[in-house]
Each structure stands twice: as C-alpha cells, then as structure tokens.
C-alpha cells in the first residue's frame, strides 16, 4: 500500500492541488488574481473557449469548449448505436470475429497513427474520400476537409467515430454474452420478430453495459487530444480546437501556466461530472 500511496501523492494528488492553486495566479508575477484566469480563457483570450459572437453567427471557431460539446453531440449517439448494431449484427455472421477484429484495430493502434490513417483518407489528391467524390461527379466539393474552417471539426469527429466504434462494439459484444440464450429461444418459439426481440430483450438486458459505454465514451470525447494535434493542430484558426489542446497551447506555447491550469480545471470538472453521473446511476441500480 505504501508505494502506491507515495506514487499517487507525488504524481497525482500534489499536482492536482497545485494545478487548482496555479489557476488562480497571474502569469509571470504569480499574484493571486481570483477567477481572472477563468474569465480570460473562457471569454477574453484570442479564440476563447466560448466564442459568443461566432456562436451567434454560426461560424467556426465557436470555442474549444463548444467544440467538445459538438463532439459529444455527434460522436456519442453514433458510436453507441454503431457499436451496438455491429455487436448484434456480427454475432450471427460467418466470419464476424474477423470483421470485429478489423473494426477493433482502430483502438489498438496509437491515436497519433489513427489520426494519420484518417488524415490520409481526407487528403485532397491522395485521399479516398475526394477520389470517391470525383467519381460520383461531386468533384467541385473535393478538398482536404481538415483544412477548412467549416469542415475541419466535423472531419476530425468523423475520424474519431471510425476509431472509437470498435471499443463500443467490443464492450457490447461482451455484454451480449451475458444474456441467457433461453430468452432468445423463448422469443423464437413465440414467433417474435427479430426486430421486436432486439428492442424487447437485447436493449433492456444491456442497460448496464450501455451506461458504462456512455460514460467511457464521454470521458474519451472530453479528453481528446492526440488526433487533433496530429490532424489539424486545432486549426485552421482554432476551428477544430478542443479543451485538452487549448490547455497544452496555453501552458506550453504561450507559457501561461495560470491560464493553462484554468483550462485543465474546467476540463476536469466536466470529467468529474461524468464520473459522478456514473457513480450515482450505479448505486441506484
């Protein structure tokens, strides 16, 4: 127990407390400035975390915090539904295990490599997506989607769906194994349709699994960093930036530890919200 506590105190507890403390200090002089850093990163800095004028006009960048929320809005329902659909579909298919292994590979490779993989897909000359657009006569829309304000964020989100679906699928596959076969046999004898069986047996029996998939996916979406760093560097002009990337930029490019720490605290409060939701739901069931 002692080595565990020692490591946790030095490398986790102390840094957490210190980050909270530093987030109240000004850059350079280190004076206590209250919530000034929070106000600065949320609304005042260049490319603030919440860019209200741009949000009102529907323009990117809308701010890293909003980008994370957009990420969740698109990525969460799609990966959860695709993960469940793939798990159910591939369970009954010959060679389904091979297909599963292929889909799962995206989560095994380093995220920086995952970023490279889908960056290549979007390339204006060498990418599959644009080649397909040219073939179906939409060549006018062909471009490197990661390099334009309107599309950069969405292209990275789509790539992250390609990466993360494998995780949701593998967790759902394990959850499916826990459903007693007798339930399906009984449904078959009653002549229940596949569709009805799915909604009346599979989905309700997987409720606990779904809860875990949702929380782990939310945490992943909030912490996203590597693929943004590799594919867009948060650009162009901050149009695809996210909280974790802004934190890195603020602390280690602008060398403003106070502002960087403030972003880290905001991010951590959001992950704690997700964790609290999980714990409260778990204790209720």
């Amino acid at each position: 127990m002692i080595p565990a506590f020692l490591l946790l105190i030095i490398f986790v507890f102390y840094p957490i407390v210190d980050t909270v403390y530093v987030s109240f200090l000004s850059k350079g002089t280190g004076n206590f400035v209250g919530l000034a850093n929070y106000n600065y990163v949320l609304f005042e800095k260049v490319n603030p975390l919440i860019n209200i004028p741009n949000i009102l006009q529907g323009l990117f960048p809308m701010g890293a915090l909003i980008h994370n929320l957009i990420w969740i809005l698109i990525h969460l329902p799609l990966t959860v539904m695709l993960g469940l659909a793939f798990a159910v579909l591939l369970r009954d298919v010959k060679g389904g295990t091979i297909v599963k292994a292929i889909v799962f590979l995206g989560i095994v490779v380093p995220l920086v490599v995952g970023g490279v993989l889908f960056r290549y897909v979007y390339d204006s000359d060498a990418g599959v997506v644009n080649a397909a657009l040219r073939i179906v006569g939409l060549g006018a829309y062909a471009r490197d989607f990661t390099q334009f304000r309107e599309t950069a964020l969405f292209s990275v989100i789509l790539g992250s769906i390609w990466i993360w679906t494998g995780f949701a699928m593998i967790v759902y596959s394990a959850g499916l194994e826990g459903i007693p076969k007798e339930m399906y046999e009984a449904a078959e004898i009653d002549g229940t349709s596949r569709w009805k069986t799915f909604w009346r047996i599979t989905v309700p029996m997987l409720r606990a699994t779904t809860l875990v998939v949702i929380t782990l996916t939310l945490l992943w979406e909030l912490k996203i960093f590597d693929i943004v760093y590799v594919v867009t560097q948060g650009g162009p002009g901050g149009a695809s930036s996210v909280l974790a990337f802004e934190m890195y930029n603020q602390a280690f490019y602008a060398n403003d530890y106070g502002a960087g720490s403030a972003i880290a605290v905001i991010l951590t409060l959001m992950t704690f919200g997700v964790a609290a939701y999980l714990v409260s739901r778990m204790s209720r069931t």
Partner: protein, 310 residues
C-alpha cells in the same frame, strides 16, 4: 404457319415450366434451406463494414511499399507499381527526420518498466484492499473511481515544473514513474474485483497451515491471478507505448524522443510525403498490434471486464 409456331412455343413454355416446377419440388425435398434474403443482406452489410474499416489501413500499407511519386494521386493507381522498402529504411535510419530505430528503442526502455512497476505495486495494494477489512474501503473505492477520470492535462503543469527542478526532463525515470502512478487507480480497481472473486477458503487453509500473509499472496493468490495479470500487462503495455501527451511535454531532447513523437515530425514538413509517413506509422503501430494479436483474449477481456460488471 403462325399458329403452328405459337402452339410449338406454348408447348416449349409448358415444358420449361414443368421442368422448373420439378426442380422446385426436388429442391424443397433437400434438407438445405435456400438462404433468406435478410441473411444475405446482413452478410453484405458485415463485409461492407469490414471494407470501410479496412480501407484506411489498406491505403497506408500500399503507400508504404511504393515510392511517393507513384501514390501522389492515390494509392489505388496501380500503374506503375514499384515494390520498394526504401520508405521503411528511410524512416528507420532517420534519413529525413529522427531515426525511428532509436525512438522505438527509447519507447521500449520506457514501456517495459512502466508496465511492470505499476502492476506489481497495484497487485499488492489491491490484495490488501480486497482482503483486509476497513471502514474506509468504500471511500477509497469512490476515490479511485474519481482518480481514474483525471485528465492528463490536470497534472501536467506541476509535473513539468517538478521535472525541470529535479532535472528529470528528458529523463525516462520521471516519465516511467508518472505512467506508473497514473496506472494505479484503474489497475487497483481491476485487481480488487478479481481478488474479491477468488474463494477465500484456499487462503484460510494456508493461514491455518501457518503461512504468512506475504507467502499466501506469493504462492497461492498470485498463481491464480495469472490471467488477470496477462490482461493488465497487455493493456498497460499498449497504453504506455501509445501515449503521446506525457512524452510530448516531458521529453524534448530530439535523441530521447519516443516512437509516437516521430509521427508528427514526419507530418510537419511542407510537402507531406505519405509514403514515408505510412512506413513510419506501420513501424510505430506494429508493436501494439502484435501485443493485441498475441494476447487478444486477455486484452479484450481486460478491457471489458470492468465495463460489463459495471
């Protein structure tokens, strides 16, 4: 004449019709069922999924073994097709950026201890956590769940300052300990569940025989835990190897950089050479993929064990 032809046609039609009817009836007697349309569609969808998920890998694999000039306008253009391993040699020896050979060796130097140190520490901690009664157990459990969700960004500024003051920047000892500390919460939780499920009677028997707690742990509990340890080893190895952020901040010296750090360097040039980037990507991903393939059962079980139990 016309009437004769049409009657002949009618006869022929009838024959053909009868023939097919016979086949049909013959078929029905066969035990094998005609595949349902829905089954066919399901299989088609399954292979479409495989194709969509395979294409990015396929593109990188093909681009990596051809000169960039050939794949500049798409790796699917196969005329001309020159097979070459120059891209691999160039990224390995660092003809254009830092040598990947060195970076991969560095990654191994970090990953191996950062895999085994936290596992041995969390095994001991989780054992006492699961076996010894204490009122604070529930609080501790909640605490570990919360710690699991901490983003790396939340600790990185103090860690950077600490490492700079202790001369641990560009030094693997700091990075290894940092990774070890970050692994403890999820590993302790994972092993706690596993230890709790072990039958306590075996240990009680050993205790009656006069074995010490440590001896029981070493001789009785640990051998029973091997599958769980295999899960932890494969997961932690891949996590540490794949990690980018901690290395990005703490390893700044070019010759000390780790394998994933080389990938952005291969991108960060004016004319993006996808063939080199593809070769580099394959070299960096080959280690985690090999671990996954070799320990697939344990890897997947470890990933889903906590999740499914909730």
């Amino acid at each position: 004449m016309k009437a004769a032809i049409s009657s002949l046609l009618e006869q022929a039609k009838k024959r053909v019709f009868d023939f097919f009817n016979k086949i049909k009836s013959f078929r029905i007697k066969l035990p094998s069922k005609k595949p349902k349309l829905s089954t066919v569609i399901v299989h088609l969808v399954a292979w479409l999924i495989a194709l969509i998920w395979l294409i990015p890998f396929l593109g990188v694999a093909i681009a990596s073994v051809r000169p960039f000039s050939e794949v500049q306008f798409g790796w699917w253009n196969i005329h001309p097709f020159t097979l070459t391993f120059k891209n691999f040699v160039d990224t390995w020896t660092g003809a254009t950026t830092l040598p990947l050979s060195r970076a991969m060796l560095n990654s191994l130097i970090v990953t191996i201890p950062a895999t085994f140190i936290p596992i041995s520490i969390s095994a001991l901690a989780a054992y006492s956590f699961a076996r010894f009664r204490s009122r604070t157990k529930d609080t501790l459990f909640l605490f570990l769940v919360l710690l699991q969700t901490i983003p790396q960004q939340m600790v990185i500024v103090p860690i950077f300052v600490l490492f700079r003051n202790l001369n641990l920047l560009n030094n693997y000892i700091g990075l290894i300990l940092l990774h070890s500390a970050f692994a403890l919460p999820w590993q302790i939780l994972f092993l706690r569940n596993f230890f709790s499920a072990l039958p306590i009677e075996i240990e009680e028997a050993a205790l009656v025989d006069g074995a010490s707690h440590f001896k029981i742990f070493w001789r009785v509990v640990l051998p029973l835990t091997l599958p769980a340890l295999a899960s932890l080893i494969s997961l932690q190895f891949v996590f540490v190897w794949n990690d980018f952020f901690f290395a990005l901040v703490t390893i700044l010296n070019p010759t000390a950089k780790l394998a994933p750090q080389i990938i952005p360097l291969l991108i960060g040039r004016l004319n993006l050479n996808y063939s080199l980037l593809a070769a580099g990507s394959i070299l960096v991903m080959i280690i985690p993929v090999a671990i996954y393939v070799a320990l697939q059962r344990y890897y997947v079980r470890g990933l889903t064990a906590g999740a499914v139990k909730g």
